[in-house]
């Protein structure tokens, strides 16, 4: 399907939905029109819960607050300043502005580098509690517990409100659908899947989360504004925790990460509750609670996907599913002139490490690390387990890691910068365990790695993916370029390693940090990687820092070897010097089990009495 056809199909469905909305008041009774007008607006807010939770992985209990922002802006302005067209615009601006301000504060609190998902959720839980309390204490200004009512509003008929609310929902749903299906939308899934990898691909995930959060706040505020205009009443429960969690229930029941699921979940449950809650007030809550727990445990994807799967499975019995779809993306080699990687600093070292130390409490993992590496050098870092090799890598790729010392990349001090800023300076880090986006395809993983350079489109899916020569080289050598549509989790271990390497190379790094890139690979794969690394340093002029246990491999490809022992550099010299060194033999002999197990960080387990 071409890009144009895909988009026009989405628009056609949207138009159909608009048609249904238009027909609504003609086929529904007054009661249903009334109830559904509110449900349509609630559904728009449920959509924002899905964007944040289903796509970005942020479980949020506080979207009600943004709805209330828009609603209260209208209520306050129309109550205290009277209704007029000018004031209506003012109220909308205040509502959206207020929501943005609140979202910015929450974003600052909840989405900083290193904040856990749980912490972010708890912040969104505190938000509605604080907001409700503030509304209560607002006295006659906010109407306290009674809320505000009796203000004038737009003079529209019930049908017109239904159309307005419905069109708004269709518009935001369509827009959200196009965005999540686009290249930019895939970033959201990537962040949910593996935020750490995203950061080390140079993506400012905190900024991305805050941006999405702000956009969701705006949608919520506009929905709230329409609500206040229609209902002509605002009450503190609009901002409350109960409404906030109801939105989560609707999203979970409908199906998180499907957009349409939460929309229909909100519409159906809210409409039904108008019918049934009146008849069975407590039993209705019990039913919803039980259903919710069951869905969370048994159908975490929600009910909409289950409904869709039934006909699909039925059809599947008749018709075999086609094999892997043909690659939808074509690779091309980026013109060397167009590469945007960090320029090689003039003659200075590509990487300079001075006096770096890393301490965990009283434990010194690294101490007084000093060395420099130039472009075109392949420096191997060797040493027994616990020598601090991976810790050193971490310190170079993340400014917040080291306890002391300076690290300069291409003449720029990394200071306390987070990983994504270090990537911008030219650092590329490949992790010890293959670290890719498991549910995304090979092509999609690579696209995300290029997102830093080629700003992904908010509505289109790119058909072409230009990659730097180095990355293309890895893909061609390993044959990954023939598996572009394969989801990453289906790749072999070696292929995943190769994919991660090409992702890192797609960043156009000047300093490449490789943590045991050959661990667990076959001999042939190892040879391939070796050849690629030599090529990268010799031809592309990269500075490569390699952690490796296989000394034969090190001997073959390194231009220089640094030996770490107990957090200090004990030797820094050519391959020959190191091989001949008695000291190195002692270090390895002393540690007993060279090159077997993976090195792990300092473990608190040692303190534990066994």
């Amino acid at each position: 399907m071409t890009e144009a056809r895909r988009l026009s199909l989405i628009l056609a469905v949207a138009l159909l939905a608009l048609g249904a909305i238009f027909a609504g008041p003609y086929v529904l009774d007054t009661y249903s029109v009334n109830v559904l007008t509110r449900s349509l607006l609630y559904a728009a807010v449920a959509l924002t819960v899905d964007l944040l939770w289903g796509y970005l992985g942020i479980l949020t209990f506080g979207q009600s607050v943004f709805f209330a922002c828009g609603a209260y802006a209208a209520g306050l302005v129309f109550t205290h300043m009277d209704f007029s067209e000018g004031n209506a615009v003012l109220a909308l601006a205040l509502g959206v502005g207020g929501a943005l301000l609140v979202a910015a504060i929450v974003g600052w609190l909840a989405f900083w580098h290193g904040a856990s998902a749980l912490y972010a959720s708890v912040i969104t839980l505190v938000l509605p509690i604080v907001a409700t309390q503030l509304l209560y204490s607002g006295g006659t200004f906010t109407g306290s517990s009674s809320g505000l009512s009796g203000f004038m509003s737009f003079d529209l008929s019930m049908e017109a409100w239904f159309w307005l609310a419905g069109s708004f929902l269709v518009a935001v749903t369509t827009l959200a659908y196009i965005v999540v299906q686009s290249d930019a939308g895939r970033l959201l899934v990537a962040v949910r899947e593996n935020e750490q990898r995203c950061k080390y691909l140079g993506l400012d995930t905190s900024r991305l989360k805050i941006l999405v959060y702000l956009a969701c706040a705006v949608i919520g505020a506009i929905a709230g504004y329409i609500y206040a205009g229609y209902a002509m009443v605002v009450a503190p429960e609009l901002a409350g925790f109960v409404f906030g969690t109801e939105l989560v229930i609707w999203t979970a029941l409908g199906g998180r990460g499907t957009l349409l699921g939460p929309v229909f979940g909100a519409l159906i449950v809210d409409y039904e509750s108008a019918q049934l809650a009146g008849d069975y007030p407590f039993v209705w809550q019990l039913i919803i609670g039980t259903l919710f727990v069951l869905v969370i445990i048994a159908f975490p994807r929600g009910l909409l996907p289950v409904l869709f799967d039934i006909p699909r499975k039925a059809l599947g019995l008749v018709r075999k599913r086609p094999a892997a779809p043909p690659a939808s993306v074509t690779l091309s080699t980026l013109d060397a002139a167009e590469t945007q990687g960090e320029e090689v600093g003039d003659d200075g070292p590509a990487l300079a490490v001075h006096g770096v130390a890393r301490r965990f409490g009283s434990l010194n993992v690294l101490e007084a690390i000093d060395f420099e590496a130039r472009a075109g050098e392949l420096v191997s870092l060797v040493g027994p387990n616990g020598a601090g090799k991976t810790t050193l890598m971490r310190c170079i790729a993340d400014g917040a890691e080291r306890s002391a010392g300076t690290i300069v990349i291409n003449g720029h001090d990394i200071g306390r910068k987070p990983p994504e800023a270090c990537v911008a300076l030219g650092v590329g880090r490949k992790f010890q365990m293959a670290n890719v986006f498991e549910t995304l395809t090979v092509a999609q993983c690579l696209q995300i790695a290029r997102a830093r350079h080629a700003r992904p489109s908010l509505w289109r899916r790119a058909r072409e993916l230009p990659l730097p020569e180095a990355a293309m080289h890895v893909l061609a050598t390993t044959g990954l370029d023939r598996q572009l549509s394969t989801p990453a989790h289906l790749l072999s271990h070696g292929m995943k390693q190769a994919l991660e390497l090409s992702m890192v190379l797609a960043l156009e790094p000047r300093v490449l940090l490789l943590d045991e890139p050959t661990a667990g690979l076959t001999k042939t794969e190892r040879m391939q990687i070796g050849a690629i690394l030599i090529d990268l340093t010799k031809k592309q002029g990269l500075c490569v820092l390699l952690v490796e246990h296989d000394l034969d491999f090190v001997r073959e490809i390194s231009s220089r070897v640094i030996v770490l022992h107990q957090g200090r550099i004990v030797l820094d010299g050519s391959v020959e010097e190191v091989v001949a060194s008695e000291l190195v033999k002692q270090v390895y002999a002393g540690s007993g089990h060279a090159g077997i197990a993976h090195e792990s960080g300092p473990s608190t387990a040692q303190e534990m009495p066994a």
Partner: protein, 278 residues
Amino acid sequence: MIAQTLDIVTTAAILYAVATGLLLVFGVMKIINFAHGGLMTLGGYAALIATQAGLNPWLAIPLAALFGGVAGMAIERFVVRPLYARPLDAILATWGLSIIIGQVITLVFGRGVQFTQAPLEGTLDLFGESYSAYRLALVGIAAALGLALTALLQGTRLGLETRAVIMNEDLARGLGINSALVRFITFTLGSALAGVAGALITPLSSVDPNMGVPWLVNAFMLVLVSGASLASLLAACLVLGGAQVLVATHLSPVLGGLTIAVLAAVILRIRPQGFARD
């Protein structure tokens, strides 16, 4: 001055009693148990049953522990265990459970506000200040709870295994510790403690189907700033509970109600490990 100090100490004691069960579950399972509020309510109704049966009011505490513990066993087995790999979903499911507990209680006991008999009535003279005797007794009870838990964790084989799971679950399993059993016991114990907390607060307030809810968020925040240590929980309760009392007394009780949550959020933003040592 003395009255305020007593307010702070007793408030901290109540918060400590309410939060310990949550802390235990959080430490071992790394999930926030949203059903904690519901389990507290269950404990409150256990105390009500004790009162209605004419039992000695002190017997409400073991009865509440029994109620909470049994409910906890069922929740761990049927809800939390299947969601081991999905911590955020486990949070949601326990929250769904709190709705279920609340509604079932409403259907059985009705919506109304009910009362239990307090084990201690009246006031006590302390440092020239006459102060609610039961609040003072709570300080002793909270201290006893804390000491008993510390003894359990430090002095028994189960405690040792629990600490091992808290520190590094994979390694603990490698050492032959049955971590599934540890989780089961911890959750049961945490739920029993929630029940006890519910029974402990009823003489101060009343029994109704939502009685546990207002305590929930404050307890979450205290646990989050404490990490997984009973000692730092004590520090957090004293500091944040103290701040709450001071704000409520000198600024406004409305702001006082928000103090713990807001302060804890900001503390975690500035110092992610909160009151824990590292």
